[in-house]
């Protein structure tokens, strides 16, 4: 699985510069956006029910919404039959649970990246809307731009988020048929071969 960054404390550590750069970019972008009258820092107004919100362990409701939207696009099906959706499998819930035991520095970076995806990345596609407010095709455009970004850190962030989402989806036996995968082979007899 890819990661976004790690804890650091030295000025010579390139990660410090990169993370601070990313944070500055986000903060600067948000401040600029505010200056432009677009309330991008808003983290309310998400349609997450109270029960789901109460169950979240690491993600804030708005972060959960971002993960859910990204997962829906990353796992968009190539055909309609026999493919469970990201929501069916509970990908965003898996990501929330996985973050619990993630090293705090990594978790912090991932959450920063979610903020970037939601509030700044759409600018790159000439949109003033938040990611979760975009149409699916526009969301795909934003994700494609992140995947192929010239900025290393954004590509790494994309890959990290993709890793968690793919893990959340393809761990589920309902998805094995997509791969033609028969699943774990526990309990094979001594002379047994798969």
């Amino acid at each position: 699985m890819g990661t976004i960054g790690e804890a650091s404390n030295g000025l010579s550590d390139p990660r410090v510069g990169r993370r601070k750069w990313l944070q500055s970019l986000i903060i600067g972008g948000v401040v600029s956006a505010l200056g432009g009258g677009v309330a991008l820092v808003r983290t309310g107004g998400y349609d997450i029910d109270a029960i789901t919100s109460a169950r979240l362990r690491m993600l804030a409701p708005w972060q959960y919404a971002v993960v859910r939207h990204v997962a829906r696009r990353m796992l968009a099906a190539d055909r309609s039959e026999g493919v469970p959706s990201a929501d069916d499998v509970g990908v965003a819930e898996f990501v929330d649970g996985y973050l619990v035991d993630m090293r705090p520095a990594l978790r912090r970076d991932l959450l920063w990246f979610l903020r970037f995806v939601e509030q700044l990345a759409p600018f790159g596609s000439a949109s003033l809307h938040r990611f979760t407010e975009l149409a699916p095709a526009d969301q795909d455009e934003v994700l494609s731009a992140l995947e192929a970004s010239h900025i290393d850190l954004l590509r790494v962030g994309f890959q990290a988020l993709k890793s968690l989402i793919m893990m959340g989806y393809y761990r589920d036996p309902r998805t094995f048929a997509i791969l033609g995968y028969r699943g774990p082979l526990l309990g094979l007899p001594e002379q047994g071969r798969p």
Partner: protein, 508 residues
């Protein structure tokens, strides 16, 4: 005896003749050798203790369980993922059981250029022979090569490439194919199955305590006196202090962990060599898509190799090793390029996919440092020469896949490179393998505490004992002054066995 540190109810203090930090190939061998010599030895392992029934063959469960940082360790520039074991048994729990001796050209170079004495091919041969016997090392017979490995062999044969079957340490293998997630069938002849039971049989006394994170090597006036650290719960939180006093300390916590512990312990290091010289043996994968069903996920992995681009003579520009590298579903989904419908379509060919990896016998020297908390940071920027080798290897692997009948070969670079003909392989360029341009992985970190006779160029002596701290030994892949160009498991076992006599002598 194995004690689970996570069950400690209060701080632990103990005495031993020797304490071993880390229980992978090096540490596990050290524990056995010292116990066999009649010594009281205590081993401390950061990871947990697991038995075969714990291994569920599920990636999302096993990767967090068996790998450091839940498998998320990266180089500082985030370009290379570094996988290291974190369990009683270390990486011997989840490796693919490859057993290739250290190439003699490498041992010769160590003697000539790094003043390593007593470790020639001839001098190490008895240790290798004994280890291979102990671990039941044998060549994987042709009938046990799975389809992915058969494709490698088929493509190589068509091209006239050199290579052949590999040797493994496995007995009673059911060929399920889940070696990298721990063996549910206990077929790995590894530290937990072979070495620790022999250590526990004595005549000395061996105790392994899991779930203990050693944070400091205790030393004063150039003499080691023990180690200290914390027992942790399942989430890595400290629950009790642990101190072990001993005349000898053996550190075998991987090239990353050993260097980090040395640095965090402020060992004498007048030339600032500790942590330097890191080699990662970095690699990348390339997939071929076939019309036939392959099911590469099942069966014995990595039973065949291509050595066409591997020449260990000094100055060689053929420094890349090719073997199979099939991924389980989550790994494949993460590795294949793109997302959405096109990504899912690609994954529908999972059962008709064969995957090869090219691993570079690297000359790039990275460095391990530590942050304020003592956590390791891995600086490694792959040099131009090594990138050229990776290109050479990936082109070779692509040619093999195409020669074996792949209708398409895909390299998951950004943007992805899709090849349909051998004439296309030139499209794999150094730009494609730039940092962050291609997912890269390291499973064989080496170096960082290099051995040799000259304290100006090495951290520890040829015996494994630290130049500046009496009684402190390093017995793992950190010792290696260069990459060895082959999977290091058996070399680490053999080197630890070969050098353990010096630690035994010091502990008596």
């Amino acid at each position: 005896m194995i004690v689970r540190g996570r069950e400690l109810l209060r701080d632990f203090e103990g005495d031993a003749d020797a304490v071993v930090v880390g229980t992978g190939a090096g540490g596990g061998m050290a524990v056995r050798e010292l116990a066999r010599a009649g010594l009281k030895v205590m081993a401390l392992e950061e990871g947990g203790y697991h038995v075969p029934s714990d291994f569920t063959q599920r990636e999302e469960e096993m990767i967090p369980l068996l790998f450091r940082e839940r498998g998320a360790t990266m180089t500082s520039d985030l370009a290379i993922r570094v996988l290291m074991g974190r369990a009683v048994g270390g990486s011997t729990i989840h490796n693919t059981n490859l057993c290739k001796r250290t190439p003699p050209e490498i041992l010769d170079a160590w003697a000539r250029k790094y003043d390593v004495v007593g470790c020639s091919e001839k001098e190490l041969a008895p240790a290798f022979e004994q280890v291979e016997k102990d671990l039941s090392v044998r060549e994987i017979p042709k009938e046990q090569h799975n389809a992915n490995n058969q494709i490698l062999a088929r493509g190589m044969k068509a091209l006239g490439f050199h290579g052949g079957p590999l040797k493994h340490n496995r007995v009673g293998c059911r060929e399920s194919g889940f070696c990298e997630l721990g063996c549910s069938y206990d077929a790995k002849q590894n530290v937990t199955k072979v070495l620790l039971p022999e250590a526990f049989a004595g005549p000395g006394q061996a105790v392994v305590m899991s779930d203990v994170r050693v944070t400091r090597i205790e030393h004063q006036s150039g003499v080691v006196s023990g180690v200290s650290g914390d027992a942790t719960d399942a989430r890595g939180r400290s629950i009790a202090g642990v101190k072990v006093r001993a005349k000898v300390v053996i550190v075998a916590a991987s090239a990353i962990g050993t260097a980090a512990l040395a640095l965090a312990s402020n060992l004498p290091d007048p030339n600032e060599l500790a942590g330097r010289g890191l080699r990662l043996h970095p690699g990348a994968a390339i997939a071929g898509f076939f019309d036939e069903r392959i099911d590469g996920v099942y069966g014995i992995p990595q039973s065949y190799e291509c050595t066409e681009f591997l020449d260990f003579r000094e100055g060689s520009q053929r420094r890349v090793w090719i073997t199979t590298a099939f991924a389980h579903p989550i790994g494949a989904a993460i590795s294949l390029p793109g997302f959405g419908a096109s990504h899912m379509t690609l994954l529908r060919n999972y059962s008709r996919m064969a995957v090869l990896t090219a691993m570079v016998h690297d000359e790039t020297e990275g460095r391990v440092t530590v942050d304020r908390e003592g956590a390791p940071r891995i600086a490694y920027e792959m040099g131009e020469g090594d990138r050229a080798q990776l290109v050479l290897g990936l082109r070779g692997a692509a040619r093999i896949l195409l020669a074996a009948g792949a209708r398409e070969v895909v390299l998951a670079s950004i943007p992805p490179i899709r090849l349909k003909s051998p004439l296309d392989v030139e499209r794999i360029t150094q730009d494609a393998v730039r940092p962050h341009g291609l997912p890269m992985i390291s499973v064989h970190p080496m170096g960082t505490m290099r051995f040799g006779e000259n304290p100006k160029t090495s951290v520890v002596k040829s015996t494994g004992e630290h130049h500046g701290v009496r009684g402190l030994f390093v017995l793992d892949g950190s010792l290696f002054p260069t990459s060895i160009g082959v999977p290091p498991q058996i070399s680490i076992y053999a080197m630890a066995k070969h050098l353990a006599k010096h630690a035994i002598e010091r502990a008596r």
